[in-house]
């Protein structure tokens, strides 16, 4: 394979993993924006989504129905998680919330290990569209479907947040919770909705991820979750376009490092990026530091 083709292939790989990171990062960033919480259990929702969809598919359910069930289950799961674990701590310090989030993450991983064992389970991929040929390279269905689905979801989410009343309420709560309450916005419902949307996106990411990277295991969400968190920080945590941008940048860096530098150094390089970003520009690429006006 010629150098340019090799590069194009890597570009496509980068877009694929980048779109998954972006989908997960959206959940991180939305929850952070509204509840000021880094939900470290968010990555594990991918895993929950993978297992729920696997169970559905194994019953012989058609794939689109399995997807819908998975999305609904994960959305409800996200809301319940918020109500049980995070809501009682709404007035507690940030560090208690952070520790709780890590606890929830471990709880999920170990509970799923108990139920399904730690053995990887093969995932029956259901994306069976033909490959697309672009010149001399051919793109597998998994790859372009993941990319298209992610981009469509991001556009829809953006429209939802910009145009609908509920979306405007989310923006208001994210900027100033107290003032939002005074507008008559029900903040509890807004937070629940944010968790539901974030978890639904993670569910879809989980399904797409499993289609690309079978088999699945109870710890599969952990690393993509952390990477997506890095993506969210890179783009500017709290910023929706930032999460998308961060996701794609990270995906691209990862693939290029893997292809041209060293796949062993991959994770160290990615985490170095996080450290550098936090040291040099903690607000991220698109994040704003808001100043108060007197």
């Amino acid at each position: 394979m010629s150098g340019i083709n090799q590069f194009l292939m890597q570009l496509i790989n980068g877009l694929n993993i980048g779109s998954i990171y972006a989908l997960i990062a959206l959940g991180y960033t939305m929850v952070y924006g509204i509840a000021k919480l880094i939900n470290f259990a968010h990555g594990d929702i991918i895993m929950v989504g993978a297992y729920v969809s696997l169970l559905c598919l194994n019953t012989g359910m058609p794939w689109f129905l399995a997807c819908i069930v998975t999305i609904v289950v994960c959305a409800v799961f996200g809301v319940v998680m918020e109500k049980l674990a995070y809501k009682p701590l709404r007035k507690a310090s940030r560090i208690s919330l952070l520790i709780t989030a890590i606890g929830v993450s471990y709880l999920l991983e170990n509970a799923f290990q108990l139920i399904f064992s730690a053995n990887p389970k093969p995932y029956p991929g259901f994306i069976t569209l033909p490959n697309i040929k672009l010149g001399s390279i051919s793109i597998a269905a998994n790859y372009y479907v993941t990319f298209i689905v992610s981009v469509v979801l991001m556009v829809v989410l953006n429209l939802f947040i910009q145009k609908t009343n509920v979306g405007k309420a989310m923006r208001a709560v994210s900027e100033d919770e107290g003032a939002a309450r005074l507008m008559g916005i029900n903040v509890d419902n807004t937070i629940s909705l944010t968790f539901a949307i974030g978890s639904a996106l993670a569910a879809i990411a989980g399904i797409l991820y499993s289609n690309c990277y079978s088999p699945i295991n109870p710890f599969m969400g952990s690393l993509p979750g952390i990477k997506a968190f890095i993506a969210a920080v890179l783009g500017g945590i709290g910023s929706i376009p930032g999460a998308v941008l961060g996701g794609f940048i990270l995906g691209m860096i990862e693939t290029m490092v893997k292809a041209y530098i060293s796949s062993q150094l991959l994770d160290s390089i990615v985490f170095t990026i996080l450290i550098l970003m936090l040291a040099l520009k903690p607000s991220g690429i698109l994040g704003k530091s808001v100043k108060e006006k007197v």
């Binding site: 009343n165 405007k168 309420a169 923006r171 208001a172 900027e175 100033d176 107290g178 003032a179 939002a180 309450r181 005074l182 507008m183 008559g184 916005i185 029900n186 704003k288 808001v290 006006k293 007197v294």
Partner: protein, 234 residues
């Protein structure tokens, strides 16, 4: 319209409001004056449901709202202009105003009220596409008031609307408050600028360390020696 009975508010073990009672009659302007830390803002936040009282009643048209959620309270016509204006800085002026009408469903009415707010505050109309964070302090205060008006309040709570504004703007804000009241909105005003507040108030209460120590008509308190000494610098 609004009646507060034996309201007690605690932050931890500290009693911030120690059993105050006062009343705001239909169509009136009532003001609470007092020094920093007297409990004025806490009182308003408790009425709006942002802070839960320890005991006591808050009656809005004879219905006790002291345990109700803020969004319900706003829906029943009690809207607050918070201290420090608290406009949504990253939203445009118009989006801020629309957020003020969040609890309303009557699209035609919202549009009409938007025009009314623009008529009252032409500066906001000029800048309707601008981010609220880029407005001057006075403009932000007007936006905060306009945003509250979009909620179609029966009673409007205002927390220090004159804070940080030039004397000229303070006078403008107070004349706006009067106008809003003349158009039928009852007003409960909290102010450190006692002189201005008393000059437009039908009735006034003096809050000190969480208790009401004095009350009377605006004029009476303006003339009262105690008030002059403590709050009017004379």
């Amino acid at each position: 319209m609004l009646k507060v009975e034996n309201l007690v508010v605690k932050y931890g073990v500290i009693e911030a409001i120690k059993g105050i009672s006062f009343e705001v009659g239909d169509g009136q302007i009532v003001t609470l004056i007092g020094a920093n830390g007297a409990g004025k803002t806490t009182t308003l936040q408790t009425i709006s449901g942002l802070v839960r009282p320890q005991s006591g009643k808050i009656l809005l048209n004879d219905r006790d709202i002291s345990r109700e959620a803020t969004d319900k309270i706003v829906k029943s016509g009690l809207v607050q202009v918070p201290e420090g204006r608290r406009v949504f800085q990253q939203e445009t002026v118009e989006e801020n105003l629309i957020l003020g009408a969040y609890t309303r469903k009557d699209k035609a009415g919202i549009k009409e009220d938007l025009e009314k707010v623009y008529e009252r505050f032409p500066r906001l109309k000029e800048r309707h596409q601008q981010l609220a964070g880029t407005l001057s302090g006075g403009e932000q205060q007007m936006l905060a008031i306009g945003r509250a008006l979009m909620g179609k309040p029966k009673i409007m709570l205002m927390d220090e609307p004159s804070m940080g504004l030039s004397p000229l703007l303070v006078r403008e804000i107070f004349s706006i408050i009067r106008e809003i009241n003349r158009d039928g909105t009852t007003i409960l005003l909290v102010e450190q600028n006692a002189k201005m507040a008393l000059s437009i108030a039908n009735h006034a209460y003096v809050l000190k360390n969480g208790s009401i120590v004095l009350d009377g008509t605006g004029e009476e308190l303006l003339r009262s020696e105690e008030v002059q000494k403590a709050y009017l610098g004379g």
